[in-house]
Symmetry: C2
Subunit: 186 residues, 2 copies
């Protein structure tokens, strides 16, 4: 669909065929995201559409991935200080979520502080886990680092233990790179 300004976007970007592999669904997310970011660098807009792409991709995936119950982003809280940086909730799909998370706290805060992906098969075993939603049993958090600075994280929760693996890690890290380079960050 093209509106009169040539703003090409269609909800069908969220349509993923059932029966695709995890790799194929992630590949579609990356391609759609790249298209959406063309000539649009507003971070709120781009994270909102990317959260939608991810959510609908998981619903089309086989196995545990279809049990994903939260997919979205946190960014740096503009009101936090470099001395005590914290994340703040950004666009997502799923249930209401924790608003702020200090760097170093829980799975999200650890990924933000260490700037490394946290792949957690069972969040109940993660020291200092912040249980926003008791239904979430596994989690993957990918930091989005731009010029050495954590600007945001991708956070995905799953309602079953062991919901994520190295395939998720590899593709979400690629997505993190695309999102990091595709937006103007505050």
């Amino acid at each position: 669909m093209t509106d009169d300004d040539g703003n090409k976007v269609h909800a069908d970007a969220s349509t993923f065929s059932s029966g695709v592999t995890k790799e194929e669904a992630y590949e579609q997310v990356l391609m759609q995201a790249e298209g959406l970011f063309f000539e649009q660098r507003n971070w709120v807009c781009n994270l909102a559409n990317t959260a939608s792409l991810l959510w609908h991709a998981y619903k089309s995936m086989p196995g545990a991935s279809a049990e994903v119950n939260w997919a979205g982003f946190y960014t740096i809280d503009p009101l936090s200080t470099p001395q005590k940086p914290q994340l703040i909730l950004a666009p997502f799909q799923g249930a209401v979520a924790c608003q702020t998370i200090l760097f170093g706290r829980g799975v999200c805060g650890t990924a933000a502080l260490k700037q490394t992906t946290q792949l957690v098969p069972d969040v109940r075993l993660f020291p200092g886990h912040i249980a926003c939603d008791a239904r979430s049993l596994s989690e993957i958090v990918v930091p989005i680092v731009v010029d050495g600075r954590t600007v945001a994280i991708i956070d995905v929760d799953c309602a079953v233990v062991g919901g994520f693996d190295e395939v998720d890690k590899r593709w979400l890290e690629r997505l993190g790179g695309l999102v990091g380079g595709g937006c103007d960050w505050p």
Copy 2:
């Protein structure tokens, strides 16, 4: 759930009993939103959680409301000019959506320009309708006006004709007032 910083939020805020009336579900949205906005005025964070509340509320409502297929926000595009203002996509739940909408264009742009709620029983009959998603057949758009300025809109789409009525209008306008006063706008 309370994390160590006293950041009280729980995913159960998105849990709506089935069998509630539309009025009861909206009332819960308003109450939960008011709680979430307490000591948190970040607009991205608050719109993200409010979109989640709305989405889950509709899924619990009887009748056409349960057919809502998109619920979220657009805000003023910070890169647009007062001479040619446009909306830009903000947090939502549902399928990928149009990124920018000029004031005056379509249902959203009309609500933003006229600063009046647009309750559209059949979007196919609305002049200049922008069909982001052909599955959306009815729509309600409520402007969020702060100090005379349109800062955002609430946009809700439904997959059936006539999905919204005066009850939706009244409650979404109350929600718009709460959101408008509860966030710091850019």
